[in-house]
């Protein structure tokens, strides 16, 4: 979508890297999104055999998925180091918390099926679910704060307290993200499993869809009402509002396809919702990286935060070689582990 929009226009390197980072983020959410979402669903599974199956379905995949997040961080550091620095130091406690969540997710996933002690399993189960859901929440929280804008000082540093980061808008986006990725995780489980676990996941779809829809509507409304900077681009080109339509069509699509047991199609619909949602957010933010409502002149744009042109050229070549490697490795991974878990 975004790429099509820019067709025929000569793109500057900063915009290119903004798009690349958006792309990397999208792949990350598409992939790690389903195992984090599945982690949330895991909390409600009581059958031991079902638990083992769920863990086995994401066991080989989560690590390869998580690397896309590292790619986002690396790309941000290399292309927009000022934004990387200000964002991470400004979001200090949530980022540290996110890191812990991902550490705990990794450990609980890896060791849960390696122990025979019921007590340890219960402990790791709780760790797995809590870490997964909290991680998603923090991502949503950070996105909300980005769209809303962060206070920058003259050195373009972010000074913000945790309480301010936990504002209503960011919290709404946190919950919206949870609902969306739980749907995505459920659809993945439906694809990979059979029998009782699959049935359970199917049963969860309708209520998850409703939760997400309501949450999404609230989020969109709040953005329209309270955060004019975020909707500026859409108001300049009202045709862009059409991007919201496929989201709601796909929500219905998921419902219908799950009923008709066309599970592949349903998963594609949720993928589309993720890509569109991220695309809309990315469009809203562009060309800012950190918008400063208090001192708008100090807003970190992709131009003011970028590395030198020489670096951007070099990392573009790096990306040209590296992205195919990344995609090739991921394809090998998913080809090896295709099909139902037995």
């Amino acid at each position: 979508m975004l790429k099509n929009k820019k067709n025929g226009k000569v793109m500057d390197l900063q915009t290119l890297w903004y798009l690349i980072i958006t792309f990397l983020m999208a792949v990350f959410i598409l992939l790690d999104g389903f195992d984090l979402g599945a982690g949330g669903f895991y909390f409600f599974i009581k059958e031991e055999s079902e638990k083992k199956i769920l863990i086995s379905s994401i066991g080989p995949l989560w690590d390869g998925n998580e690397v896309w997040l590292i790619a986002v961080g690396g790309a941000l550091f290399a292309a927009f180091p000022k934004a990387y620095a200000s964002l991470l130091s400004g979001f200090y406690l949530p980022v540290i918390c996110l890191v812990f969540c991902l550490i705990f997710r990794a450990i609980s996933l890896e060791f849960r099926n390696k122990t025979d002690s019921r007590r340890q399993q219960k402990f790791l189960d709780r760790m797995f679910s809590t870490a997964s859901i909290t991680a998603i929440f923090i991502f949503g929280l950070l996105l909300g704060n980005l769209l809303k804008g962060l206070p920058l000082n003259e050195n373009q540093e972010v000074y913000i307290s945790v309480l301010d980061l936990l504002n209503p808008y960011a919290i709404v986006l946190g919950f919206t993200s949870i609902f969306l990725l739980v749907i995505h995780g459920l659809l993945f489980i439906i694809l990979k499993t059979e029998n009782s676990l699959q049935e359970k996941a199917r049963e969860w779809i309708p209520k998850s869809l409703i939760c997400f829809s309501l949450s999404m509507v609230v989020a969109i409304t709040m953005t329209l009402v309270f955060y004019p900077e975020a909707v500026k681009r859409f108001n300049e080109h009202p045709a862009l509002y059409i991007l919201f339509v496929p989201i709601f069509i796909s929500l219905i699509g998921i419902y219908l396809n799950i009923k008709a047991k066309k599970d592949n199609r349903a998963f594609m619909h949720s993928s589309l919702i993720i890509v569109l949602s991220l695309g809309i957010a990315s469009l809203s933010l562009y060309p800012n990286l950190i918008y400063s409502p208090t001192l708008p002149d100090y807003t970190l744009t992709i131009y003011s935060a970028a590395s030198s042109l020489k670096t951007l050229k070099i990392i573009s070549i790096l990306g040209l070689i590296g992205l195919p490697i990344a995609i090739f490795s991921s394809v090998c991974l998913y080809k090896t582990f295709r099909g139902k878990i037995n």
Binding site: E66, A78, P81, V99, E157, L333
Partner: protein, 440 residues
């Protein structure tokens, strides 16, 4: 200060698992190579067992490594702004060429035993090993750029890229890559040696353990000698590019005299001398320049504000060297008795191997300590001081909180690590298993 402690702590802990991963990955490639060549089921059991251990170590490497990607931005925001052009690109390269490759193919190695053919599985093992080595390569290039910056220009008070190949092939990267990789091979090999020695001493799975021991011993012996060569090259480089650091290594203060080598000692930083030391005069000059009367600039030649903590650097450097030579000796003893076919009866020697697993781990840590603390007070040598690189907008409370949290969490991770590795070792390899690769 807290940020320094946090970074040092988190990266040192991470470094335990990454070196073991690189070293064991080499072992796995060799073992699986033998399996494909000879078809002997013994080698299959080797890779089945050791890859399980590898999996545990690797996930701990991932878990502890994730933070580091972000820690540059969180705690060292000004550093990130200064070096992002150069340093960020190198980290991005590491993500593409190392992380993607090792994480995806490891899944195939660990979980794909019945899903792929044996050739593809072997290929995956090779990819994992290449990936982990690539990790070492790129991060050492990045760190070497901090030590001996090149290929950049200072524009608008930040370092911008001028010549990427000069950045990559900066004056110290090649020898340091060799030294780090060698240290990793040593760490992995000695870990396997320790576990194998345990089995032999307990008279368990003798065929399995002896084969593991032999392969690991050869890796260890060759690596330990390699370390001597790469270490020597590194010191030569440091003498030329970072003379203050070298002077600190040997506690050499005098402005214009040949440098000695101390076997041990204690640096009195106030009096600017080494006390209680045993020194071999002029030996450093001889080894470095081939001329024992060539003078080597001492710490007094440099302004005191540019001195690192001399005693700390001196001690860690000497510990590393001492351990290095000890490991060489141990390996040579091992090879000698292997040749005389009496190695596995020598319980005393085996017991030494059992405890020596910690040797390379400590040597690796003290080596890095020497390199990094020896680089102080600079973050980027002569370009940016450590104090200038911190994040200005972090309150000390935040960092104290995160530091304590990391200490607690990492302690938990260490317990988990020991518990599950121990469990795996006690359980031992399954010698009844047969290969179930997909037939072509």
């Amino acid at each position: 200060m807290l940020s320094r402690i946090q970074f040092g702590f988190t990266i040192s802990f991470h470094y335990i698992f990454t070196t073991l991963s690189i070293g064991i990955s080499l072992f796995l490639v060799i073992a699986e190579g033998f399996y494909l060549k000879t078809g002997k089921i013994l080698y299959f059991h080797l890779i089945r067992f050791w890859s399980k251990i590898f999996g545990i170590i690797f996930v701990l490497g991932v878990a502890t490594g994730l933070l580091l990607e972000f820690e540059f931005g969180t705690n060292w925001a000004n550093y990130s702004k200064f070096v992002g052009d150069v340093f960020g690109s190198l980290l991005l390269a590491e993500t593409f060429f190392a992380f993607f490759v090792e994480s995806t193919f490891l899944a195939i190695v660990l979980f794909g035993w019945t899903k792929v053919g044996k050739k593809f599985h072997f290929l995956s093992t090779i990819m994992v090993s290449i990936g982990s080595h690539m990790s070492a390569v790129w991060i050492v290039i990045a760190n070497s750029w901090q030590q001996t910056p090149a290929g950049h220009q200072i524009v608008n008070s930040r370092a911008e890229m001028a010549d990427f190949s000069q950045v990559i092939f900066n004056p110290s990267s090649l020898e340091r890559i060799w030294h780090v990789v060698g240290g990793s091979w040593l760490a992995g090999a000695f870990f396997i040696l320790a576990v194998s020695a345990y089995y032999i001493l307990r008279k368990r799975v003798l065929d399995f353990a002896k084969t593991s021991f032999k392969i690991a011993l050869w890796i260890a012996a060759i690596s330990s000698l390699m370390q001597l060569a790469s270490g020597h090259k590194s010191v030569l480089g440091i003498c030329e590019n970072q003379p203050i650091k070298f002077a600190a290594f040997e506690g050499h203060y005098p402005k214009d005299e040949p440098a000695p080598i101390y076997l041990f000692g204690w640096v009195d930083e106030k009096k600017k001398e080494v006390r209680y030391g045993l020194k071999i005069p002029k030996l450093a000059s001889l080894l470095l320049h081939g001329d024992m009367n060539k003078s080597v600039p001492g710490l007094n030649s440099f302004p005191e504000k540019n001195h690192p903590p001399v005693n700390a650097v001196f001690q860690s450097y000497h510990i590393m060297v001492f351990l290095g030579f000890g490991l060489i000796l141990l390996c040579l003893l091992g090879i000698y008795f292997l040749w005389r076919k009496s190695l596995f009866q020598r319980r005393g020697l085996l017991k030494i191997f059992l405890v020596s697993a910690i040797g390379p781990l400590i040597a690796n840590q003290t080596g890095w300590f020497s390199a990094e603390v020896g680089r102080q007070p600079f973050l980027v040598y002569h370009l940016l001081r450590t104090s200038e690189g911190l994040s200005a907008n972090l309150s000390a409370n935040y960092v104290l909180f995160s530091l304590l949290a990391f200490i607690l969490v990492y302690a938990f991770l260490f317990v988990v690590f020991v518990y599950f590795v121990r469990g795996q070792v006690l359980k031992g390899p399954d010698l009844e298993e047969t290969a179930q690769f997909v037939e072509k």
